[in-house]
């Protein structure tokens, strides 16, 4: 279902996250939560129930004291380019690969809550709403008008802040342009990142920052062996971090979740 690549388009959006810069502060997560109207449960300390589209995983090199090191892997939706697993399994077309932008969408009102996609996603990037979203009295005022909150019974995931793309395009059209400039459309996480570890942009534009960064020698993607061709790239000069990106868990002793 995701083999629409032949469509002529000048855009394909992707993200590059420099793990050597990332300090795991979680500003990306909070910025995403705020941008995308997430509610907060009183029991967020129970991680089985916690939802965050941009989740920051902590990994360690597993070396004993004092050679231990930790690193962080922020994980948005990978917006897989090839055989997008969730799109392949969705029975109701609630999630779709947009051949014009490369963005994998999630249409909440179509979702029937079968959670097939949750199981299919190799990146745990999808979350099911088991409960009604609740905002405490007065807190609903901070809801972003560009984004609809999700109801109970549907699956949700990172959209690469698709509403920001629409806004940027509207603005460009008003100004008589058809193409966006690099940096005109960025996700909330990339905008927030204090170390500037996250870069977002059009991978098909050879002049864009992301197009240049994905060619760096330290670039890799998560679970590349699955052939899903994620559009989220990671950079690191440390081999143990790069290895942890390809399910080294169990095979090698050097990287594991912290």
């Amino acid at each position: 279902m995701s083999e629409h690549h032949e469509v002529a388009s000048k855009e394909k959006y992707g993200m590059v996250i420099d793990l050597d810069k990332c300090t795991g502060c979680g500003a990306c997560t909070v910025s995403c939560l705020s941008e995308n109207n997430h509610y907060v449960r009183e029991d967020e300390s129970d991680k089985l129930r916690s939802v965050a589209w941009m989740k920051v995983y902590k990994v360690t090199n597993g070396e004993p004291f004092p050679n231990t090191k930790v690193a962080f892997i922020p994980r948005p939706c990978m917006h897989c380019d090839h055989h997008t697993p969730c799109v392949s399994v969705c029975p109701v077309m609630a999630t779709d690969y947009n051949p014009l932008t490369g963005i994998v969408s999630q249409i909440y009102t179509r979702c029937i809550g079968c959670r097939y996609c949750v199981g299919a996603c190799p990146y745990h990037a999808r979350y099911f709403n088991w409960w009604d979203p609740v905002w405490p009295e007065g807190m609903h005022k901070l809801l972003n008008p560009d984004m609809s909150p999700r109801m109970r019974g549907v699956v949700e995931k990172c959209s690469f802040c698709n509403h920001r793309l629409q806004k940027a395009k509207d603005k460009a059209y008003v100004e008589g342009r058809r193409d966006l400039k690099d940096g005109e459309y960025v996700t909330a996480c990339a905008e927030a990142c204090p170390t500037r570890a996250i870069t977002f942009g059009n991978m098909k534009d050879p002049e864009s920052a992301v197009a240049k960064l994905i060619k760096s020698p330290g670039a890799f993607r998560l679970l590349e062996k699955l052939g899903t061709q994620p559009k989220v790239y990671y950079l690191s000069n440390e081999s143990w971090i790069r290895e942890s990106g390809d399910n080294a868990l169990g095979r090698k002793k050097t990287a594991r979740p912290a």
Binding site: D18, A27, E44, K47, V51, F65, T68, L143, M151, T195
Partner: protein
């Protein structure tokens, strides 16, 4: 037809099977799911606007951009036949606004568009469930169960407060009134200090901070006041003695921005010196796992190598005093071998690091412990700070600098009457120092002062000492003994709950206030927080509250504070910046501006005034007043049979711990389940140590300390030093926040400070402990 038992059962079973074969039960299930679904609220649409403001949730002072949307929540007028009316309403000039997003301001020099998780979650403070929405009066006596609050009007509240203050003053005891502030930066804090001095009390005391010991150290060694800053951006070799550079120390976003640039330039070295594997240690080029508390010894060991090998900066040393004595001390006491024994760092590592530090210029040694609330002793500060003189980094680019003061217009002379003068002549309740008298606040002495009955009224302004003072539970008991407690706060917290009167204060997004020079950043700067909206209309600006109180008090208090409101004061003060003709606002030179009003307009457009630091080689005195840098172990560093382990506090950027802001709900999603699991706090313990106690991951345990006990769970962390327990600060709240209350335990309760005999200041970062399997 007669229905027997067998027939009935047959009929019932057949009925059940038959019903299941129909869609009825499945439809019912489906319908009930839909029927009970609350659905999600639909955010009201409306035109957006953006306001530039400044964050003051930590001493970082980042520039923020607030996205505002017309507030139509709860109404439906933008649909159907109401649409016309909606269009008309849009043209009305004054529309209620709601804030939907906080992002970093790319034009602000401190953060250049980045933001930290706490700053990004700021709207949850604005719209928080525990905002104080009206002045509150306690109706039941203190100490008799939970407080019962009654809403009162501002007039009533201010009458009670002025009545109380006047009564104490008329009895000739103005010095028995004390005020606790979070910090003394900014005009509001200065105004409050001035109010109390005019009233007759010098007891305006700030919460503990690392800056306390730095202030004393700096005045001794360099004879200067002011805030210490580090030019990390231009430094090529940074030796950090435990400062959580990437986890919230100083101006967090600024430091992270600098770190991002370091990673790109690839010509900076960061060496992190701290006992346990922190994020900063992991991200550093080199991590030296020093024994807890032995940082000073390591610094002196490095100084020994630099001095004996002649690698020190001779021109800087020529500007210093006491070098010969320092050199002799280093050579006799702090050889790499001796230091190696104290610190656990091999002698050759000490030597190679010291050499690299000395030959790479500019280099800087950063004194710090975590985010900056915990503190070591004076000798430790002096030992680490001395390294900067050896590499010629005092007052230089890429070294340490003292922040210049923002050139605000000076305060007019204080009017004091006889009562005030008599009150000011009394000594401060927290003492004036130890062997050295310095006048820096010593909040750890407050508990004893309150217990002794020396305080008749306590005013707490935007601080939470009942939670966040080391030895918090004892302070809470002491507060219960104070006859009158007034809390000024925007959110309900532990201290407000112990008060008699609570006054609601506007949050930083609702008030106009100055935010001066970001902590540890070399540049002087000033930008404003701006009243973008009013979520709690009853809440007032704290500056205005004190100006109103001053008017009500009359006399010299009133004549010392003649401003109509805080804005008038701020505008007058900004005139000083214009008169100085220093620095830039936005991209404009102040010297090129035509009038002070133009500058004021710039500030109100959300621009930041900014001034480059003035560099110039400086020196210091190694042995001021006969005090030399040396290693002086703290009492809890000594192993004991009863308490074989050391409990060390650490901080997490997602657990708010500086200033009177609590961890906001969004951040609770970021707190790892190796820190907090459901309601249990996890302490970090090395697996080997845990194994000896037969503890495995997630086991319940008790941390027994000489000062108390805490119930925790165990997280096995290979990055922890053996026999050390790491505990996060900032959890275990008992405020009325459903997202926080009852989660984890409060480490402040067992971390009781000891007084540094030289300065009298609090030394606190750990305590002896024993881990018992529960």
């Amino acid at each position: 037809m007669k229905l027997d038992r067998r027939g009935f059962l047959k009929f019932a079973a057949g009925g059940v099977v038959g019903t299941l074969a129909t869609p009825i039960p499945w439809d019912l299930l489906d319908e009930s799911a839909k029927f009970t679904d609350l659905w999600a609220p639909e955010p009201a649409k409306g035109p957006s606007s953006f306001v530039h403001s400044t964050c003051r949730l930590c001493p970082g002072g980042c520039g923020i951009t607030l996205r505002l949307v017309e507030d139509k929540s709860g109404r439906d007028e933008w649909r159907g036949w109401h649409h016309k009316e909606f269009i008309q309403r849009r043209r009305l000039p004054a529309v209620p606004l709601r804030a939907v997003k906080i992002a970093g301001n790319p034009d602000h020099p401190v953060n250049r568009g980045g933001i930290c998780p706490l700053g990004a979650a700021g709207l949850q403070l604005l719209y928080g469930t525990n905002r104080v929405t009206a002045p509150l009066k306690r109706t039941n006596p203190k100490g008799e169960g939970e407080a019962v609050w009654e809403k009162i009007t501002w007039d009533e509240a201010l009458n009670i407060v002025t009545g109380k203050l006047r009564e104490i003053r008329e009895a000739g005891n103005p010095h028995t009134v004390a005020c606790i502030l979070d910090n003394k930066k900014g005009l509001t804090a200065e105004l409050i200090g001035r109010f109390f001095r005019a009233y007759g009390s010098s007891n305006v005391i700030t919460m503990p901070s690392q800056e306390d010991v730095e202030t004393v150290g700096l005045s001794l060694m360099q004879g200067t006041g002011g805030h210490l800053a580090y030019d990390l951006e231009n430094s090529k070799y940074v030796l950090s003695f435990g400062a959580a550079l990437l986890e919230g120390w100083g101006a967090p976003v600024h430091n992270m921005m600098v770190f991002g640039k370091w990673q790109e330039a690839n010509e900076h070295t960061l060496v992190q010196i701290e006992p346990n594997c922190s994020i900063t240690a992991s991200k550093a080029d080199k991590w030296l796992a020093v024994k807890p508390g032995a940082e000073a010894a390591l610094a002196l060991g490095m100084a020994n190598v630099i001095v004996t090998e002649g690698l020190y900066d001779r021109s800087c040393i020529a500007r210093c005093q006491g070098f010969e004595g320092f050199k002799a001390l280093l050579e006799s006491e702090y050889t790499p071998h001796k230091v190696s024994e104290i610190t656990g760092i091999p002698a050759n590592v000490i030597a190679t690091t010291a050499r690299a530090f000395a030959v790479t210029r500019p280099a800087v040694a950063v004194y710090g412990r975590g985010q900056g609330v915990m503190s070591g002793n004076l000798a430790e500060f002096m030992s680490i700070y001395s390294l900067n003189a050896l590499v010629g980094s005092i007052g230089t680019k890429g070294g340490v600098v003292v922040q210049r003061e923002v050139p605000f217009k000076a305060w007019p002379a204080l009017a004091t009457d006889a009562v005030a003068q008599q009150g000011l002549s009394q000594s401060r309740i927290d003492g004036e120092g130890g062997e050295i008298k310095h006048g820096v606040c010593m909040s750890h002495n407050l508990t004893a002062a309150l217990k002794s009955g020396a305080v008749n009224a306590l005013v707490v302004h935007e601080a939470n000492p009942c939670y966040a003072l080391p030895g918090a539970h004892k302070f809470e008991e002491a507060v219960a003994k104070v006859p009158f407690v007034l809390a000024l706060t925007s959110c309900m917290n532990e201290t407000a709950r112990a008060a008699d009167i609570i006054l609601p204060v506007a949050s930083y997004l609702e008030r106009l206030e100055d935010v001066t020079s970001a902590a540890r950043v070399p540049n002087a700067s000033m930008s404003l927080t701006r009243p973008a909206l009013a979520n709690v209309p009853e809440a007032r600006h704290p500056g205005d509250i004190f100006l109103t109180l001053a008017r009500a008090m009359g006399g010299s208090v009133n004549s010392s504070l003649p401003w109509d409101n805080f804005e008038a004061l701020l505008k007058e003060k900004v005139g000083g910046i214009f008169a100085s003709r220093r620095g830039r606002i936005g991209d404009q030179e102040v010297a090129m501006l035509g009038s002070s009003d133009e500058l004021w307009e710039g500030f109100n457009a959300g621009k930041c005034w900014y001034e480059e630091p003035v560099f110039g080689g400086g020196g210091l005195t190694f042995n001021p007043q006969g005090r030399t840098p040396h290693f002086e172990p703290v009492s809890w560093m000594k192993a004991s049979r009863e308490f074989p382990m050391l409990l060390v506090a650490y901080e997490n950027i997602n657990i708010a711990n500086r200033r009177a802001v609590d961890t906001l709900p969004y951040l609770t999603k970021n707190i790892d389940d190796t820190v907090l699991q459901k309601h249990d706090l996890l302490v970090r313990v090395n697996p080997e140590t845990a194994g000896r106690m037969r503890l495995v991951e997630g086991d319940a345990a008790t941390v027994q300390c000489p000062t108390g006990r805490l119930s925790v769970r165990v997280h096995m962390d290979v990055g922890m030093m053996p026999d050390v327990i790491g505990i996060p600060l900032g959890l275990g709240h008992s405020n009325d926040d459903p997202f926080l209350t009852g989660k984890g335990v409060n480490a402040y309760e067992v971390l009781e400070p000891v007084a540094d005999p030289v300065t009298g200041l609090a030394v606190w970062w750990g305590t002896r402990a024993k881990l018992i399997k529960a």
